[in-house]
Symmetry: D2
Subunit: 294 residues, 4 copies
């Protein structure tokens, strides 16, 4: 039962191009022509035009089988086109299995959920590392045979501990981080190493109930619906680009404990959907928002 | 096509008692015994115990046919029991058709929705009066043969105009007010005349996006779900007890105009549900929250 | 208050191409190249590959301003490309305002909803005609100044009456029909004149509760959620391609009448969404399913 | 990590009475008087009147601390009242922890979900036994230290194997059974031993897609929403009283595999909610429906 590699490996071998640029004529034509003339077959393509900002977004995925440009030369070959249209862009390959680290504190439901989905083949990634400020969930990690590192953190030790964490993340070649109910605020310095590559689950319907104890805040306010929000982490707490949200109905009969219990169910699915979208290269961040190509 | 009286009048003749009091033994027994020994038949009863505050809430509805105490003496007869348990309570009769006034500005969708539901028999009330700070929706009122009064309001005239409105509301014996996208803030003085009897629809998922232009705020923030909230109006803007909320999914493809369009659909249903709950005497306000007996 | 033309006319002048064909390399490239070399600017494009059937679907919309091929020659110019890829395709223009007829029986909520959305500019169409087998909703039509024709139908008169209806539809140049709770079954002959151009709202979550009195069926079965389904009408009753569905939660407390009342709210929004998708040329029918480009 | 007993044991000691009877005056009064005069404190009470059948339903829960009638004599003491009103009734105690068996086949997501919720204290029960027709999930059971018994079943062996299962269930004093994606049809004989005490999760929105491979059926039909249904098992396949349902939105982009993946998330929560309602004695079955006191 080794969960470090996904069991259900698809046999695809596709290139995925994500780009944004100022809107003008010919972007789709040029990109698809570039793919076609090199003998690629487009399997998915999606565009979006932000009418206000006149910015064009595109995600295109094509089969590399029979593609004339070798994989290692692809990015280089695309540069002239990217420059012509002033694109922000990046290129990924569907057979690349990214390495993700999960950060947790004491609550295990999101961690369990991610590990089980990973084992079921829902999340194409490796999970070589779980990081925590508490030892509580070590046994879960052992069950799934994932390394578990504990870095207790207080105000005094934070900077030092984060440095050690960063070293471990680098040593494990971690590409992105999932905060699965990690109850520590990461420093701007730490975040800067993983820009738009740290996904957090916040247990409220943001921007309502920012910060601590959102279920207590929700109960206090007497809302009839509670929510969960997955977002990329930025320096401003709970203010980063929102990836996914969902809600569940509650009533005056629900105590804070009921909200916490009902909330766990949406935290899990919202976080899992966000991680999956990230892994499938379906998210483009612009400004403080996301374009989701789903 | 006269909509001032509801077409579908149920033949019921029930008493409805709403009460709250400190929790102690014997409340349900005493109340149901009071009803039973006077030959009433309970058709609905619902209780709720706020475990934190040790407060007990109850809604009980019984048939008055064959009830020994005459309707006009019922409240008086209940006083000893109410005093014994230190109850906050009120007594209503299901055949009483309350008079409601609708306040609007320029947007007509909620107004139309309420008038059509009223005509379809969904809302057991009379609607003798529509009040507005603009003349725009006068034609709608005429279509439905409801009086439409226009009181243009600016900072200077507000106090005077509200006095005139209050006089009209009194003249029409209005019992509660529905703000169906009324874009003026009511003064504390005005609100004090209709405590827990003014229902507002706010076009966001409160407490997110309080105040002006919530759809613009939501678009700016990049949320993936928008909402609407019906609440009783209190002195603090958008902070009153929440009656009902609902949400609808949006995406990066939705412009502010799309949010406004999608939002209209939930504004209508959320407001209508809240008005219906109010008319059925199913709402108990305590502190800044509601108990909904549905 | 003339609702025959939409108040909010967008200033766009776009071509919309909907196509499906066997999947092969170069479709996107060829189509976008066709648009680009003629100086068109793509504003939306969406693709879908049915992996099982190896069928490729595409919707592309581009600005005609500055487009080199004149509008009347566009379809002709596209033929070679369509033939090369064996496309099923059609071409539409965003400034074309289609004429729709609404069919109703006695229930007015969907009719009212469509007329109000139309007036609010949500539905870019003309509505020159309302057809009914009952006179009940004539007053609504008059309010909105739309012609209302009554064709009472029984088994004996059906064929004759449908002929008259078809003549009127032709005389009014009706392009598609919306059955807004029209309680007659159309004949295959009638349907054949409007293939994939008749939208029906069925008041259940299809394929559950096909046929008559679905809310009664749902109540009888004791479901906890009810639904509504908008679909294109085919010869088989309630079996046509599904366009849109939605649901609402119910409980044992809800009588059949409550289901009917709650159901009305979703019937309205589901039908309106389907009509809007149709008007925006965002639906592609293949087999007995729909591809929705939203 | 012993999950056989729930970690979070509430300190309550309440009696719960569930009853139904023909409607007449005085039921609530008599029941609450019975409780009050014996010094019980009602903490929850809920009633429902089926207006069509004139049947009255009630759930009442009261504290036994200070209650004058000893627990073992309570049922006996209630008999006269029950007979007077011709009640179907049963009495339960909140400190009784029922024993449940989980039946599974090869799919582990619902099993895992139940075991994790149990460990988190969400499900007040003991789980001494997991029964399967396949050995695949034995390791999960071992992880959670629950006994796992395998009974391979084919047409020939079914009767014999079910007898063995029943013997084991009796030996473990199992009170109810949860079919957590158990892909065998139980015999009427087996079911008769656990009337209204077997909960199944069906992976469709019943009554749509009864029987085998509902996700394949849903994909084939082209629905825009899929669902899951928890119900009590009766002799008729997928026709028993529905306890809970929920849905999730899908699109033409979703393959059968995507439906299966998305469906898993609602199967888990729908089944868990149903099991929780059952454990809290909040379900009353009448005819082929349920009254849910939540």
């Amino acid at each position: 039962m080794d969960t470090k590699t996904s069991q259900k490996v698809e046999s695809d071998n596709n290139a995925i191009l994500l780009l944004s640029c100022p809107d003008r004529k010919g972007i789709v034509a040029s990109v698809s022509e570039f793919i076609y003339k090199n003998n690629g077959n487009i399997v998915h393509a999606d565009q979006h035009l932000d009418a206000l900002g006149k910015i064009f977004f595109m995600r295109v995925e094509w089969e590399l089988q029979d593609f004339k440009i070798p994989r290692q030369g692809l990015a280089h070959a695309f540069i002239p086109l990217a420059q012509k249209f002033k694109m922000d862009w990046n290129l990924r390959f569907s057979d690349h299995i990214p390495k993700m680290a999960i950060f947790v504190s004491k609550e295990g439901h999101c961690l369990y959920d991610l590990l089980l989905r990973h084992r079921a083949g829902e999340l194409r990634s490796e999970i070589p590392l779980i990081v925590s400020n508490h030892p509580d969930l070590k046994e879960v990690a052992e069950n799934f045979r994932v390394e578990y590192l504990t870095y207790p953190i207080d105000r005094r030790t934070k900077a030092t501990q984060e440095k050690k964490e960063l070293a471990e993340l680098e040593a494990h070649r971690i590409e992105f981080i999932v905060l699965a109910r990690y109850m520590q605020i990461l420093s701007p310095e730490f975040i800067s190493h993983f820009k738009n590559r740290i996904i957090n689950i916040h247990h409220s319907f943001l921007p309502a109930f920012v910060g601590r104890r959102p279920y207590h805040q929700a109960h206090e306010r007497g809302v009839k619906i509670i929510g969960a929000t997955a977002h990329y982490v930025t320096e401003e707490l709970d203010k980063g680009p929102i990836i996914e949200q969902d809600v569940v109905r509650v009533s005056h009969r629900d105590s804070v404990e009921d909200l916490i219990r009902k909330g766990r169910d949406i935290e899990k699915v919202v976080l899992a959907r966000a991680v999956r979208l990230h892994l499938e290269n379906k998210i483009l961040v612009y400004g403080n928002k996301t374009v989701i190509f789903d």
